[in-house]
């Protein structure tokens, strides 16, 4: 190629040619070397040699042509890519020739990578995946956090802002278009199902890129003055379900929370809102008061309830918004909380990118991530062992390639390419597995309870990228050891037939045993912890929670949606309790704020109340009606229940549990009559001491508990608790009728305490089944690993077995020998695994309901299970080895 005079340009052109005009380059190289060769011959002939001698001489001088060409290509720096392409081709051919091996290895990898991909896509979908809005890259969540002096509370997420703060931010921002949203459950007249509403600013729907298919969205003037504009935009599915897709729906009226709303438009099918749950309807933010009767948030400057969304204005970006909103957030507090600090953060839009969610989920995710990586480790060790075995049988091929001049580095590169290709096949299968699993899991979500979600389980570029990267890494990890091992031997014996046998050398066998040991150990870590979680779960089912777990019905009402204020709510509950008392089948009736067996409250109490020297105690709390303890079966150790009068008068009395009495006063006797100061700064006199209950709620605080009489505003959300005799169905009907007699518009939702136990235990059941699933995967992998090892060892030692049997060894002897060989690494791995599992299980303490993290049953049980599986896996190939006819095996050689 002619020089252009510019060196860098020349180099670029050469690289281009080397990469893309390969055939041409190859031909040239060939011709160039041929010319040299011919010229040499001619010169030798000219010096008087015979043609034959000259050719021989030239050939000696030329060396190995293939090697020379390789070196020239190397100089052109293209060999790397060319080699990769050739290796890929070569490994594909190899894979086609060995479909059984590929299927086995790919299946193992698919399980390992599938578990990892599933976890990744779950976390990614919730925390990072762009929202289902148009132009999602420029759609942001804005989180405002406040701290310091002054009282400010939030409803919903802790990053929500109040109505005046929202108005200020929206008006003042020059860098961002800011929209607000709040979620509420409402009741539609004549529909027993709750209606999910999104309360929005006028610009929210347009900001998400939504378009009305009918009518219009909100106008700015409709979201300014509180309470003035009862208009509603229907979601597409609500329009279809409630109005059968009536094209003339605009202008019609629907009653939500007893308030007539005028339908102004219908959103398109793809307009689903920027949060996880898709709403049935949108109403203006200014209609907030009717979603929360008696406790309107819109009038409070210090209650945050509006979630913020933003897009940069033309010419602005995230950094500019971040800088400006930080200043504005601080200014927004100025009128009502001048001393308080604000911190604003602008995050790329995602369903759950709240800083505290990220913080709090970290430990759980860390455990999950560890678990799925352990499964992958087992899969890697498993496939590495398969490759090792295969490497031994490919020795001859490798020896030949080495002896004809292939470099060791090149061979390692080729072996690694093979394993990476294998891993990619496994990874692709794993992706399908994870996708399928995600779809199934999403189908299992009870949408009637949680509301329609818009989680999309299908993999996108990020998930594909993750799977590809993890596959390549996996391929390198499980391929490296066998590749290095495959090259570590002497050429000469390997080329001869005895090299095929690989007998006598302990290197690879030791490595194989070590890999089995690793699989068993890691598998045991997973299994033991799964066993512990399962034991913890059954333990929770069987343990005495300190209260009745049968014959209780728990009923909740939509009093808030029905515009009930505090007075009306308590009147409703009191009347209902009174009326039910006479109903046949009702043994006891009461009410409480917190559902029995749950533990949802974390507060402080000061003891003793008098003086400032009091000790602070963290407590869990509940507010209850009279007869609570007799109805729920919680034993009252001292004192008495609350009276009707105490509840009606909001008397400053309290009932504490045994633990609180002991911690605060030393004993139950001393607690009676003492005073404690609760969060409302009122002194409460202790009138009773109850036995401690054991909440099944693992997210609960598990702290000493203090009960107060149920207050009016709490009645709005209190649960009616009924102790009944006879059939729960009859009783449920009776309660519904009794409630309808007080107010027919109120909807009652009833569940049995047994159902309540099931749902409160969902997290522990989920943990146990996830751990169990991963443990089972690992167990399958490890068992097939042991099976493979033993089968392989036997196939290598057929001759030895044949000789032993020919010499009179009994079948038992041979069986013992073979199985022992297979079980040695299993036992070593088990011991290591048990020790590691004991360390790991400490992290699960909170989910074990008091069960020891060293529970011997879980440890010994799973170790036995694993050993039994391994023994069976070893027995299978050993058994077939015994059917060997010595005469045949001896003849094979």
């Amino acid at each position: 190629m002619k020089s252009s005079g510019n060196r860098h340009l020349d180099m670029l052109r050469l690289r281009w040619r080397s990469l893309f005009r390969r055939r041409e380059m190859e031909n040239e190289l060939e011709a160039e070397l041929k010319f040299h060769f011919d010229s040499l011959i001619e010169s030798y002939v000219a010096r008087g040699m015979t043609r034959g001698d000259a050719e021989r001489r030239a050939r000696i001088e030329a060396g190995i042509p293939a090697l020379l060409k390789d070196q020239c290509r190397d100089e052109r720096r293209i060999s790397l890519w060319e080699n990769v392409a050739r290796d890929i081709f070569y490994s594909l051919r190899g894979m086609r020739a060995n479909p059984g091996f590929v299927a086995a290895a790919a299946a193992a990898i698919a399980l390992g990578i599938g578990a990892n991909t599933a976890l990744f896509s779950m976390v990614y979908t919730l925390m990072y995946r762009p929202l289902n809005v148009s132009d999602a890259g420029t759609f942001y969540n804005v989180h405002v956090e406040t701290f310091g002096p002054g009282n400010r509370s939030t409803v919903g997420s802790q990053y929500n802002v109040s109505w005046p703060e929202f108005r200020f931010l929206r008006e003042a921002s020059r860098t961002a278009t800011i929209a607000g949203l709040a979620e509420a459950e409402m009741t539609r007249k004549g529909d027993p199902r709750p209606v999910r509403a999104q309360l929005v600013s006028d610009n929210l729907l347009p900001l998400t890129g939504g378009r009305p298919v009918l009518g219009r969205f909100f106008e700015p003037k409709e979201t300014i003055s509180p309470g003035s504009t009862p208009v509603v935009v229907l979601s597409y599915h609500a329009w279809r379900e409630w109005f059968a897709g009536d094209p003339a729906v605009a202008g019609k009226t629907i009653a939500l929370n007893r308030q007539p709303f005028t339908v102004i438009g219908v959103a398109g099918q793809r307009t689903t809102g920027p949060v996880l749950l898709t709403p049935d309807v949108w109403i203006p933010l200014t209609m907030q008061a009717i979603t929360r009767a008696g406790d309107p948030l819109i009038g409070s400057a210090t209650t945050g309830w509006i979630q913020l969304f933003a897009r940069p204005q033309p010419g602005q970006n995230k950094d500019a918004m971040q800088a400006e909103l930080q200043l504005l957030a601080q200014q927004s507090l100025q009128p009502h909380l001048p001393q308080r600090q604000a911190r604003a953060s602008v995050e790329p839009g995602a369903y759950m990118n709240f800083p505290f969610v990220k913080r709090q989920s970290r430990p759980v995710l860390a455990i999950l991530m560890l678990a799925v990586s352990l499964v992958l480790v087992v899969a890697c060790a498993n496939v590495a062992n398969m490759l090792l075995a295969r490497g031994l049988s490919r020795r001859r091929e490798i020896a030949i390639r080495l002896s004809i001049g292939a470099g060791r580095k090149r061979l390692i590169q080729q072996l690694l390419t093979e394993s990476v290709m294998l891993a990619l096949v496994g990874g692709a299968a794993g992706l399908l597995v994870a996708w399928g699993a995600a779809r199934v899991l999403l189908l299992l979500i009870p949408v009637e309870l949680t509301g329609r979600h818009q989680l999309n389980p299908s993999p996108d570029a990020a998930v594909l990228g993750f799977t590809a990267v993890i596959s390549v890494l996996t391929g390198v990890v499980f391929g490296l050891l066998p590749a290095l091992q495959a090259l570590r031997f002497d050429l000469t014996p390997a080329l001869k037939t005895e090299g095929l046998d690989g007998g006598g050398r302990s290197g690879p066998r030791r490595l194989q045993n070590a890999l089995i040991g690793v699989q068993v150990a890691v598998c045991l870590i997973l299994l033991v912890n799964a066993g512990l979680l399962l034991r913890g779960f059954t333990h929770a089912l069987n343990m005495d929670p300190g209260q009745r777990t049968t014959q209780l019905l728990i009923t909740s009402f939509d009093l808030r949606q029905q515009q009930y204020d505090a007075d009306r709510s308590s009147r409703f509950l009191n009347t209902l309790r009174e009326n039910l008392k006479g109903t046949p089948g009702v043994i006891g009736v009461t009410a409480s704020m917190v559902e029995p067996l749950y533990d949802q409250c974390d507060r402080e109490a000061r003891v003793p109340a008098a003086g400032s020297s009091g000790r602070k105690l963290r407590i869990s709390c509940d507010s209850v009606a009279p007869d609570y303890f007799s109805t729920t079966g919680i034993r009252l150790l001292r004192g008495r229940e609350f009276t009707e009068a105490e509840m009606r008068n909001q008397a400053a009395v309290a009932i504490v549990d045994e633990r609180f009495a002991r911690e605060a006063f030393g004993s139950s006797d001393q607690a009676i009559g003492a005073t404690i100061r609760l969060i409302d700064n009122a002194d409460h006199q202790v009138v009773g001491v109850a036995a401690a209950v054991r909440p099944l709620d693992i997210s609960g605080s598990g702290l000493p508990r203090v009960y107060q009489p149920l207050r009016g505003i709490e009645s709005q959300q209190a649960k009616l608790v009924v102790l009944y005799a006879g059939s729960p169905g009859e009783m449920e009907k009776a309660i519904r009728e009794a409630a309808a007699k007080v107010d027919p518009t109120v909807t009652a939702g009833t569940k049995r305490i047994e159902e309540s136990i099931q749902s409160v235990l969902i997290p522990s059941r989920l943990a146990a089944s996830v751990a169990g699933g991963l443990g089972t995967l690992a167990l399958i992998l490890a068992s097939t690993g042991v099976y493979g090892l033993v089968a392989f060892a036997i196939s290598r030692r057929r001759r030895e077995v044949g000789i032993r049997m020919a010499l009179g060894a009994s079948r038992g002897d041979v069986l013992r020998l073979v199985i022992w060989q297979g079980l040695k690494p299993v036992i070593a791995g088990s011991l290591a695994g048990l020790a590691l599992a004991a360390l790991a299980s400490q992290a699960l303490q909170a989910m074990l309901f008091g069960l020891s993290p060293l529970d011997p049953l879980a440890f010994v049980g799973t170790a036995l299970l694993l050993t039994a599986m391994a023994a069976a896996a070893a027995l299978l190939p050993a058994w077939s080895a015994l059917r060997i006819d010595p005469a045949i095996t001896l003849r094979v050689q």
């Binding site: 190629m1 002619k2 020089s3 005079g5 060196r7 860098h8 020349d10 180099m11 050469l14 080397s18 040239e28 011709a31 160039e32 070397l33 010319f35 040299h36 011919d38 010229s39 040499l40 001619e42 001088e61 030329a62 060396g63 090697l67 020379l68 070196q71 020239c72 190397d74 100089e75 052109r76 720096r77």
Partner: protein, 113 residues
């Protein structure tokens, strides 16, 4: 190159550049010329020569072109580029300096027995 006369790393590159400075030449010609100029003292073998030629071309110090050889056959001719000429000056000066220094060390008096 012959086993008894291992050339220092980079020396072969310098020799090739020098030979090509005399005029365009094919690979075989380069090996002949080096042998001739060293009175058959330096035998450059193909295993070293061709990788070196490709390396130098890749560095754009030499360029190649197909032409007709003395014996009337198509051959690939290499020639020095402008950058190659500069490189040759640089390397020659460098070589001269190194050989002078090595000579100084080796000619130190007295210590050799």
């Amino acid at each position: 190159m012959s086993k008894s006369m291992d050339l220092l790393q980079g020396t072969l590159d310098l020799l090739i550049l020098k030979v090509l400075a005399l005029g365009p030449m094919h690979g075989y010609g380069v090996s002949l010329r080096i042998a001739q100029l060293s009175n058959d003292g330096l035998q450059v073998q193909q295993g070293s020569l061709y990788p070196a030629l490709h390396r130098l071309e890749q560095q754009a110090w030499i360029a190649s072109e197909w032409g007709i050889s003395d014996n009337n056959r198509k051959a690939k001719f290499y020639s020095l580029t402008v950058a190659g000429r500069r490189q040759l000056r640089l390397e020659s000066a460098n070589w001269a300096r190194v050989s002078e220094l090595v000579g100084m060390v080796l000619s130190a008096n007295g210590s050799e027995r």
